[in-house]
């Protein structure tokens, strides 16, 4: 008589695991990061490295303090994803301690104080970003121009030096090397009553979005399509996000093409593409019903436009995500699907 182990079904090895999901998200970000290096230089690489080191340190410390399995959760790569997403939202040569502060608020406050992986209400990367944006506004607006327009190109070592010491080689000051982003430019110039067409004469604009940024957005989209293909994300959030941005913008644009960006430009400037494929799709903090995800993402799209047009900040994706995170429980409650066999 043979005896056997007891365990509940199913008895087919699971096709996925958390680490695999996170790894694929990271893979999907590779083209965007490469494009970022191509257009803006090495700063992002240094920034990502710093962020990952701090993210993992904070993660390990918190896991240890909370008495969790450090090895199991540290290798799930979720902290690494948070770190990379954070870096894609901040200036390339931001001082290291700003990044560290961002990671502290992302990992320690937004993630672990809310219960760790799976329990956080707010997108950790966006919480980290919001805190440093409000706390260190000057550092958070010091964006480099695309290499094409930049007078100074920094090597990897020079980038690291700037980030760690704040000393810019060649006796330069920050104003020499930074420049307003396309959305900054837009915000300032429209306030000066210039038309969109006139503003677009600025070299900082490309064919359909910001110079360089438009192509980075395209590569984010490639990564996003990969995630869709791999079924890591579903179509609901990107489609509703893009749809809301374009549909809401269209009537304004048609009424006043001089005062408003066109729908396509809205999508390809700033962080809409990154947001639609990588930030709003954070499974933990998004709505957990199919219809709810449509509402959630459409809400992000609309709030983004409102902040861009009437808010104090040039771009609004991060704030929009955090605001809609708050609305998730309500959205979930009202968008429950009809269960099989219940009247529709």
């Amino acid at each position: 008589m043979a005896t056997f182990e007891l365990k509940g079904a199913p008895y087919i090895p699971a096709p996925t695991r958390v680490q695999g999901v996170m790894l694929q998200v990271l893979l999907a970000l590779v083209p965007g990061v490469m494009a970022h290096i191509w257009f803006f230089g090495w700063g992002i690489v240094v920034q990502i490295s710093i962020a990952i080191v701090f993210a993992l340190t904070f993660e390990a410390t918190m896991l240890h303090l909370r008495g969790k399995d450090v090895r199991l959760y540290l290798t799930d790569l979720s902290a690494v994803v948070t770190a990379v997403l954070f870096c894609l939202c901040v200036p390339q040569l931001m001082p290291w301690w700003v990044t560290a502060t961002g990671m502290f608020f992302a990992i320690v406050v937004a993630k672990h104080l809310y219960g760790g992986l799976g329990y956080n209400l707010f997108n950790p990367a966006m919480v980290g970003w919001m805190v440093v944006l409000i706390a260190f506004p000057r550092d958070l607006t010091a964006w480099l121009p695309p290499l094409e327009l930049a007078e100074y190109h920094f090597t990897l070592f020079e980038s690291a030096t700037i980030i760690f010491t704040g000393n810019i080689p060649g006796e330069l000051v920050w104003d020499d090397i930074t420049q307003a982003t396309p959305l900054d430019t837009l915000k300032i110039q429209t306030a000066l009553a210039m038309t969109i067409a006139e503003i677009h004469e600025d070299a900082i604009f490309g064919d359909f979005g910001g110079l360089g940024w438009e192509w980075i957005a395209n590569w984010y989209a490639v990564g996003g399509l990969f995630l869709l293909y791999r079924r890591i994300i579903s179509w609901h959030i990107p489609v509703a996000f893009f749809g809301a941005v374009m549909l809401v913008d269209l009537p304004f644009y048609l009424m006043d093409p001089d005062g408003y960006l066109g729908p396509l430009q809205q999508v390809f400037t700033g962080s809409v593409v990154l947001g639609a494929f990588f930030i709003a799709t954070d499974p933990v903090t998004a709505s957990s019903t199919p219809r709810g995800r449509l509402v959630y993402a459409a809400g992000i799209g609309v709030i983004t436009l409102i902040i861009r047009r009437w808010g104090a900040y040039p771009d609004g994706v991060g704030f929009a995500v955090l605001l809609m995170n708050m609305a998730v429980p309500l959205i979930d409650y009202y968008t429950r699907p009809t269960i099989y066999g219940h009247s529709r």
């Binding site: 996925t16 799976g118 957990s288 699907p337």
Partner: protein, 516 residues
């Protein structure tokens, strides 16, 4: 309902495309004529409902096909001797269960090797039988749903005066990976399957009978269609349905074929459909045409842990170990043995268990199949489970409520609409055993409901007693008052004399008693 069911198919929500692993056991014929085991163990509860009542005693000689336990309860099914021999005991034996094997009252039969049949009574032309007669014969034959639910079949052949059955669906959609006993049955016994289906249609006076099979079962489809054409009954048709797990779930199959959903908590008959398994249909045919009760079934013995995976025809009561032996034995280290499929089956603690009416598959797994790649992680809300849930539930929300023991929320999020198909648990990247959580939660809710009912019952009883006590109390005070009033109206002297007399009588009685 559209008249042309089967011409158009609908799609149920979610589901999975799984590797089917069936070819492992379908590339050769079913093994018949296994040696008769020396001992057969026949649990009296192999079906849904009240256990059958043993009608033999230890020491009784029985013939093959003889009733050994009768299913005369409200929902029950009889058990028959699968071979001739002697009853040696009616006692608790280890029998298959969700817990991996539990003790259950069984009739132990020592076979004599003669395999001698009891007198059988078959009917050649079933169309001359009244529907009630068919139902009675099915009931006498101890037939239960052989797809795994083991619900007594005669009950599902009863016509309800309020509801007419339009369609009988024969479920040949064996959606679980690995299992192929129904597919092999349809290939090898297509005539009994089709005839059994016609008998059921006749019993229910339904308009049509649809035999549903998966679209990859080409051979079975060809054979079945040939038989249907030969018989020439245009009320019977064979329909291919897409191979999506859990297409064989009754509710999913009904939606695929009719576009209608069975009401929550209701039965298919409410939308004019009755569903039976194809093996059940073949058993019905055997019972009516040949008078053969349900004493054997096809079992798939498969998995990477078995040397020669195949389907076998096994007598009910045969030890699982003997089936494995018939298929060449284990390949080596087999850490897990499953009864049923890999999605909804149950792990067994031993192979020293009898084949019962529900046993459709014995699956032996090797260590690669059961290796854990990751411990259970928190839910990350990826919604894969929502996408695959065929009941259109929110498995992740349900899980959170189940975990936090928020039972009322779990109920309102439809935990009782969960069919436990395991799709959610399979796709979960956090490897959360979701179905286990749901089963536990369902049990908790049932228990609480039961307690609530008991409490309600106790409350009613208490109230009743209180009322009775009050009634008695009022009666007593009324009586006293009456006595009082009676005393008042009497002359006090008379009353004293009466009391003295009573006291004397009493003393005299006691005095006599003392003397005795």
């Amino acid at each position: 309902m559209a008249t042309e069911i089967g011409n158009r198919l609908w799609r149920f929500h979610g589901g999975l495309k799984l590797r089917n692993y069936k070819v492992m056991s379908t590339d050769h014929a079913v093994l018949h004529g296994l040696p008769i085991p020396e001992q057969l163990i026949l649990p009296i509860s192999q079906h849904m409902g009240i256990p059958a009542r043993p009608v033999v005693e230890p020491g009784d000689k029985v013939l093959k096909g003889q009733v050994v336990a009768i299913g005369d309860g409200f929902v029950s099914a009889s058990v028959h001797a699968p071979s001739s021999g002697t009853v040696t005991a009616i006692a608790k034996r280890l029998v298959p269960s969700a817990a991996g094997g539990t003790m259950g009252i069984s009739i132990v039969l020592e076979t004599d090797g003669e395999d001698k049949w009891i007198q059988r009574d078959g009917i050649r032309n079933f169309e001359t039988l009244a529907p009630d007669e068919i139902r009675a014969r099915v009931s006498n034959a101890g037939i239960v749903g052989l797809g795994g639910a083991v619900f007594p079949s005669h009950i599902k052949l009863m016509r309800d005066i309020h509801q007419t059955v339009e369609t009988v669906i024969l479920n040949g959609v064996e959606c679980e990976p690995y299992i192929s006993c129904d597919e092999m049955l349809m290939r090898e016994r297509a005539v009994p399957v089709v005839t059994g289906g016609r008998m059921m249609r006749h019993a229910l006076e339904a308009k049509r009978c649809i035999i549903a099979i998966e679209d990859h079962m080409e051979l079975a489809g060809r054979v079945l269609r040939g038989v249907v054409a030969e018989i020439g009954d245009d009320r019977v048709s064979v329909v291919d349905v897409p191979t999506i797990y859990p297409q064989g779930g009754e509710r999913q199959l009904i939606e695929t074929l009719t576009g209608q959903q069975v009401p929550s908590g209701g039965l298919p008959v409410q939308i004019g459909v009755v569903c039976h398994n194809v093996a059940t249909a073949a058993a019905v045919q055997d019972a009516i045409t040949d008078g053969i009760p349900l004493i054997s079934r096809y079992v798939t013995v498969t998995g990477p842990g078995v040397k020669n995976p195949s389907n076998v025809e096994a007598l009910i009561g045969t030890p699982l170990s003997q089936l494995i032996e018939a298929c060449g034995g284990y390949t080596g280290d087999v850490p897990m043995l499953i009864l049923g499929g890999p999605m909804m089956g149950y792990a067994m603690s031993t192979d020293d268990l009898p084949v019962i009416k529900a046993t459709n598959c014995v699956l032996a797994l090797v260590s690669e199949d059961v290796r854990e790649t990751q411990k259970e992680m928190p839910c990350i809300g990826c919604m894969e489970c929502v996408n695959v849930c065929p009941a259109d539930l929110l498995p992740q929300t349900l899980f959170l409520h189940a975990k936090e023991r928020q039972l009322e929320q779990a109920r309102s999020y439809g935990i009782f609409d969960c069919i436990e198909c395991g799709c959610c648990a399979y796709v979960c990247p956090s490897h959360i055993p979701l179905v286990d959580y749901y089963r536990v939660t369902k049990n908790r809710i049932w228990k609480i409901d039961e307690q609530r009912q008991k409490a309600e019952h106790a409350r009613r009883r208490h109230e009743f007693r209180e009322r009775r006590r009050q009634r008695q109390e009022t009666a007593r005070t009324d009586h006293l008052r009456e006595r009082e009033r009676a005393l008042d109206t009497k002359d006090p002297q008379d009353a004293i004399a009466e009391a003295v007399k009573r006291s004397r009588q009493h003393r005299a009685r006691r005095h006599r008693k003392d003397k005795d």
